[in-house]
């Protein structure tokens, strides 16, 4: 009688393992090619691990390519976007969570709509607007665009964190002698710190991944972010697989770090965005 549940358990674990293998295999292959020396890449064929691993591709990418610049640019853009978005969305999220005001309905509707319509529509007009302002081919331009794109989703996320803090606390503070803004700063914000960290993480990941607008708005190598740099490298030197994949591994590192940071909040983040990737 006990064999059936035992069999089911084995099947369950095997299915989980299959999912893990499917999820990790591409990343594993990225790493594998990145550490395979060039002379072994074509001779060894489909092997799960090269007979000799080396870090020569990483060494080349870090010392003789423009990737460190791309990496730095992406860090600047994603980091600034994350900080600015988090500040703006904690203010607007607080307004949505704590106030009843005329126009709230319209604000929410507007923010939801921005999550629904195809952003690719804006590629051309945004280029036309930013170009005379000198904001194309500029990291600042990218930060402004990314900030606007991420504020609606981050606002809903911050709102959900604020909603989790009882209103009583603020009222207690106001009776204790605080103005609403002091109560926001001294009582609510400190309690929202985990939420703020999660929002930073979500926005950083989103900005780090953005592709279309960085392709459109950035042309030179100097200001290129990681995706732009990597794609132009791919189209120029499409045979240096080792180096490309080493660069890919580098692009993966910050994303994985932030994934660890926001893991606990995935559900909240995905439902706040509802449609955000």
């Amino acid at each position: 009688m006990r064999t059936r549940p035992a069999l089911l358990n084995v099947a369950h674990r095997l299915a989980i393992l299959a999912y893990i293998a499917f999820a990790l295999f591409p990343l594993f292959w990225l790493l594998k090619v990145a550490v395979t020396p060039n002379d072994l890449l074509y001779t060894e064929g489909v092997r799960l691990w090269p007979s000799r691993a080396s870090l020569e591709h990483f060494d080349f990418v870090l010392r003789h390519s423009a990737f460190p610049v791309f990496f730095r640019n992406s860090l600047i853009v994603s980091g600034s976007t994350a900080v600015v978005v988090t500040i703006l969305s904690s203010l607007s999220g607080y307004a949505l969570s704590r106030f009843r005001f005329r126009g709230k309905y319209w604000l929410v509707t507007l923010m939801l709509l921005t999550q629904m319509f195809p952003l690719v529509m804006l590629v051309a007009p945004i280029f036309k607007i930013l170009s005379p302002l000198g904001l194309t081919n500029s990291l600042t331009g990218l930060v402004i665009v990314y900030t606007a794109f991420n504020v609606p989703f981050a606002t809903f996320l911050m709102q959900s964190f604020f909603d989790g803090i009882p209103k009583d606390l603020e009222e207690a503070a106001m009776i204790d002698g605080a103005t609403q803004f002091v109560a926001f700063r001294q009582i609510i914000l400190p309690l929202t710190l985990p939420g703020i960290a999660a929002t930073l993480g979500f926005v950083f990941t989103a900005a780090w991944s953005e592709l279309l607008f960085s392709l459109m708005l950035i042309s030179g190598n100097e200001q290129a972010t990681f995706p732009v740099g990597l794609l132009s490298f791919v189209s120029k030197f499409s045979v240096d697989f080792g180096q490309m994949m080493a660069a890919g591994v580098l692009a993966l590192i910050p994303a994985c770090l932030f994934f660890l940071l926001i893991q606990r909040y995935l559900v909240q983040g995905l439902t706040a965005g509802a449609v955000k990737g």
Partner: protein, 355 residues
């Protein structure tokens, strides 16, 4: 310390009124309890006094000064919340000193005041803990401590004991009463629990549907309830009601459903044959006697409470309860004689008002 005057206060959300014309004068040092079922507007009234809700119409004065437009922080009142509302990221000591720090009180003064309050509430060993690490009763004490360090003009309590279990609630109830005896601070206390209201209040304000039903001392409300609502709300088990008509005559009678007549000593001030309600508290029913005043009631159910016995009885189709300390009724069955003493009867007219 201060008096609080509430004059013709009204509150509505949109077109939906929640408080109708509340008028109340609270004397300096008085302990007033607002009691009523949930949704009766008692919490709204308290929050309006605190400044957490705006006033639709009317005026609130604290120590003679109009406060309608003042922010909560400028009203100099303290409040204890049902959820305690302790700041989770601050230690007990910092929770208690927050209001003093906001007012830029000198450091050494803060230390003295907080230490004094902690001693009074027995909180000394907990001062460095976070609220998370406290039990419900301890949190409740910290919330009280946070209120008393302020030495405010008035204390407001919003169902402060609702989240405690029965035993702790009894204990904290006594502590609040002792605290008030020591501080003599003007206090307004909101509860839906009539026992809390009876035990704590100098005066009770019974509310229902946004309207004040009766204001008076606890025994006033118990002995002379102004209307059916107050009569039914105060007391446990609640007052028994019989609907019927009064007939004058050689021997006045109160006729209830099922052709049963309850004999009265004298005619109540009711028109002959007018519809009315007769009320009597379970503990006032006498379970003995013979003669013309005695009726025979059927025993439906016997509920021993340990302290006494609640008997579920019926006269014809009308059920009612009687309370007795006599354990011989534990085995009561069939019918027993009951007697409604004339001085324990309450009469209410068809509008529900006491006559």
């Amino acid at each position: 310390m201060a008096s609080i005057d509430i004059a013709n206060i009204q509150k509505s959300y949109g077109i939906h009124p929640v408080l109708h014309d509340v008028d109340l004068k609270i004397r300096d040092g008085e302990f007033v309890v607002l009691v009523g079922p949930s949704g009766c507007g008692k919490s709204t009234l308290l929050r309006m006094i605190a400044g957490l809700e705006s006033v639709t119409a009317g005026e609130i004065r604290i120590a003679g000064k109009r406060v309608n437009e003042l922010a909560p922080k400028d009203r100099d009142i303290a409040m204890v919340f049902q959820s305690y509302a302790l700041y989770p990221h601050m230690s007990v000591a910092r929770n208690m000193s927050y209001s003093l720090r906001l007012r830029k009180t000198a450091k050494d003064r803060i230390t003295t005041i907080v230490a004094g309050a902690a001693a009074k509430l027995g909180l000394e060993p907990l001062m460095e803990r976070r609220p998370r690490a406290l039990s419900g009763g301890q949190r409740q004490r910290v919330a009280m401590g946070r209120a008393i360090v302020r030495q405010p003009k008035a204390f407001l309590f919003d169902e402060p004991l609702s989240n405690l279990d029965a035993r702790l609630r009894e204990q904290m109830r006594a502590e609040i009463k002792k605290l008030h005896r020591d501080l003599r601070a003007t206090s307004i206390y909101v509860t839906h629990d009539q026992i809390e209201a009876m035990t704590l209040a100098d005066r009770i304000v019974a509310m229902n549907g946004g309207v004040v039903q009766q204001v008076g001392s606890p025994l006033d409300l118990y002995d002379r309830p102004a209307n059916l609502f107050v009569a039914g709300f105060i007391g446990s088990p609640g007052m028994n009601f019989f609907e019927g008509t009064c007939r004058a005559g050689e021997r006045p009678m109160f006729h209830i459903a099922g052709d049963i007549a309850i004999p009265l000593d004298a005619s109540p001030p009711l028109a002959n044959d007018a519809k009315a309600t007769l009320g009597i508290r379970p503990e006032h029913i006498v379970l003995a006697g013979h003669g013309p005043e005695t009726l025979l009631a059927t025993v439906d159910l016997v509920e021993p409470t340990g302290f006494g016995i609640i008997l579920h009885l019926s006269l014809g189709r009308s059920g009612f309860k009687a309370f007795t300390n006599d354990r011989s009724f534990l085995t009561a069955s069939g019918t027993i004689p009951v007697h409604f003493p004339a001085h324990s009867l309450h009469f209410f007219d068809s509008e529900g008002s006491r006559v």
